[in-house]
Amino acid sequence: MGYILTQSAIGGVVMGVAYGIMAGGYTMVWGAMRVINFAHAAFGVLAAYAVFYLLKVCGLDPLLSLVVVIPGLFALGVIMQELLIRPLANRARDITSASVVATLGVSILIENAMLYSFSPTPRFIATSYSLKSFSVLSLTIPATYLIVLGLGIISMGGLSFFLSRTRIGRGIRAVWQDEDGALLSGINPSLVNRIGYGIALATAGIGGVAMCLIQSFVASAQLSWMLLVWVIATFGGIGSVKGAVLGGIAIGVILNVGSVFIPRAYVTVIVYAIIIALLLIRPQGLFGNKASLR
């Protein structure tokens, strides 16, 4: 029993970190711009397909494909911000509600474009190290787990650092906390928003790379990934990167360890119920602050 619990928990942590990477970018946009990007995970799946084809056609290792994925998704983020988010913010009465529906539409668009281009066959990434693992005590730690943990630390650590130590990052947080004050201090909100969105989608891409290393994927997975990303971000707290990672780990462990005892489907339903309760009692999540909600 000890073995099963520990091994499941490890799997849960790693899965949670992979989701957490995606949740980090998502929650940043949610907090900073009040935009709920329901297409966030779809971009992650897109990155996973990029990894797959780069591996298949050029033999490029998934980690090296980050060189393509990060700038590519950053660019897509800027484009999405300019074409969709900014016009939406100017016209909509309530940007958050409008963004849910609009980005839902975008996610459907992306999913079906991917379905048409790449077909609904499930894909997995098989590299030379996919089947390597390390034995620690009696536990098995696959090499890919360590890589995902590394990606998580680097990307989320980087994101945190960016938000708190760099000028633009602080600008994003300033705009979020006090828009007028930020304007007065000479921060350019549209530049800040563009970069913020680009970074958010870039981290979605990193998340996608992490995900494809530990599980199979297909275009229609974007919805199930997104639901979990949303659940984790809601749990972790609006705008909190730390909350996203910790929330990811928590939810991952609950799902994996819970499924040792009861069928996974039921654990998922329980998690949904917890989130609904959370939305009623503490909608800003564990690490969010209430002011950010309005």
Binding site: T121, L131, S133, P263
Partner: protein, 406 residues
């Protein structure tokens, strides 16, 4: 104000009406068909998606049938043309595309869907339109509804039976196997085979230590494999399709779980399985509803065709290629036997005669199932999926036991 509303409503109703009439106007007109016009056979298959590997072989087999039938003079003199749509395994598409085949493409005949869920989704529609619907059948569920036009050949519950039969009757193997782990996909196919596994385990005094289900598509087998590894079960029953099966094998390799018997339900009999896994595939038991090395009529030509067109090194055509040929063959026998293109005549002929096919003689009952239980559990030995332990069919061969190290 009311007047404006009336106008808006009138415009709206007119739009609806006009659209309907335009679609009605675009209907293909009835024509007198000259004798050289091809007979249309329609079907949908999940060529893309999680059932693609086996569906692709079914398609190849059916295309061979079309070629062959046309070469030999057609069905009662008329050539055959097949219309195939890719339903990607989606229930919506399976139903709407079949309806399109029947009502818009106006096919003369249909072939049954795939896999079991597709058959279940399409059977009511075929029944409503009164069209003979021949498929692998898969689950008795829809057949219990009293559908008259549906024909099935293989029930998922028969899946692992020959293998269990062999275990039970081989004492040195049976005493070696004490525990069983079952991972099953959460659908008709997996669940019905799982029932069989549990029944046989109870019968043989084998303890089922892991019994988990998962929804398709399976993303990761790691969590389930932790349990299976901890149990160190002797028998590992992977009631899965191709992709999830491969994921589970990889997880077993990764976590160093070594079963003595490994059964992978669907997909292990396809050439792609051995291609994908190489030596790791060695020793995998799978299922088949056809005997490759038997000597039924026309079977030799099927093997020859496969060797010529697809893989010169293969000893036999894959089972699913044979089945791809089989279903339209049964339709052909029905048409030729009844001497007519009429669905009812074909149906009645098939239910009142013993027919000779590439998998042997079949006698359909009134409920659409055959009297004969045709089920095999071949094993991958030396890279080939071959029949084992069933001496009454073809060449008897000893199964590979225990399962080799990954």
């Amino acid at each position: 104000m009311k007047k404006k509303r009336q106008i808006a409503l009138a415009v709206l109703s007119a739009t609806v009406l006009v659209t309907m009439l335009i679609s009605a106007g675009c209907a293909p007109k009835e024509e007198i068909v000259p004798a050289e016009e091809p007979l249309l056979v329609g079907r949908t298959l999940p060529l893309t998606g999680p059932y693609g590997e086996t569906a692709d072989l079914l398609n190849k087999g059916a295309k061979y049938w079309v070629e062959r039938v046309n070469r030999e003079g057609g069905l009662l003199g008329r050539p055959v043309k097949m219309i195939l749509y890719d339903d990607a395994g989606s229930p919506d598409k399976q139903v709407s595309l079949l309806e399109k085949l029947i009502t818009i493409d106006k096919v003369d005949f249909i072939l049954g869907g795939y896999p079991t869920m597709g058959i279940q989704n399409q059977s009511p529609l075929a029944e409503k339109y009164g069209m003979v619907n021949i498929s692998l059948g898969g689950s008795p569920t829809s057949f219990k509804e009293g559908f008259k036009y549906c024909f099935g050949l293989y029930q998922n519950a028969w899946g692992p039976v020959p293998m269990f039969d062999w275990i039970e009757s081989t004492p040195e193997v049976r005493k070696d196997l004490k525990t069983m782990a079952i991972l099953t996909m959460n659908n008709s196919i997996g669940l019905e085979a799982r029932e069989t596994c549990r029944e046989w385990a109870e019968k043989m005094g084998i303890q089922v230590v892991v019994d988990d289900r998962y929804d398709l598509p399976l993303e990761s087998a790691d969590a389930m494999m932790a349990k299976v590894k901890a149990s160190e079960a002797d028998i590992f029953m992977s009631l899965s399709f191709f992709d999830d099966g491969v994921l589970q094998i990889r997880a077993a390799q990764l976590f160093d779980y070594q079963p003595k018997i490994f059964f992978q339900f669907i997909g292990a009999s396809t050439p792609a399985f051995v291609e994908e896994l190489g030596l790791v595939a060695e020793g995998t038991f799978s299922h088949a509803m056809a005997c490759s090395d038997c000597s039924f009529p026309r079977l030799g030509e099927i093997h020859a065709y496969w060797k010529e067109h697809y893989d010169a090194d293969a000893e036999y055509a894959p089972v699913y290629f044979m089945l791809g040929y089989l279903y339209p063959q049964i339709l052909q026998i029905g048409i030729e036997g009844a001497g007519s293109y009429d669905q009812d005549a074909i149906r009645d002929y098939l239910k009142s005669h013993t027919i000779t096919t590439v998998i042997g003689d079949i006698t359909f009952r009134t409920d659409g199932w055959p009297n004969e239980v045709i089920a095999f559990n071949p094993q991958i030995i030396n890279g080939n999926c071959v029949n084992v332990a069933q001496p009454e069919y073809g060449t008897p061969r000893e199964p590979l036991y225990p399962h080799p190290e990954w």
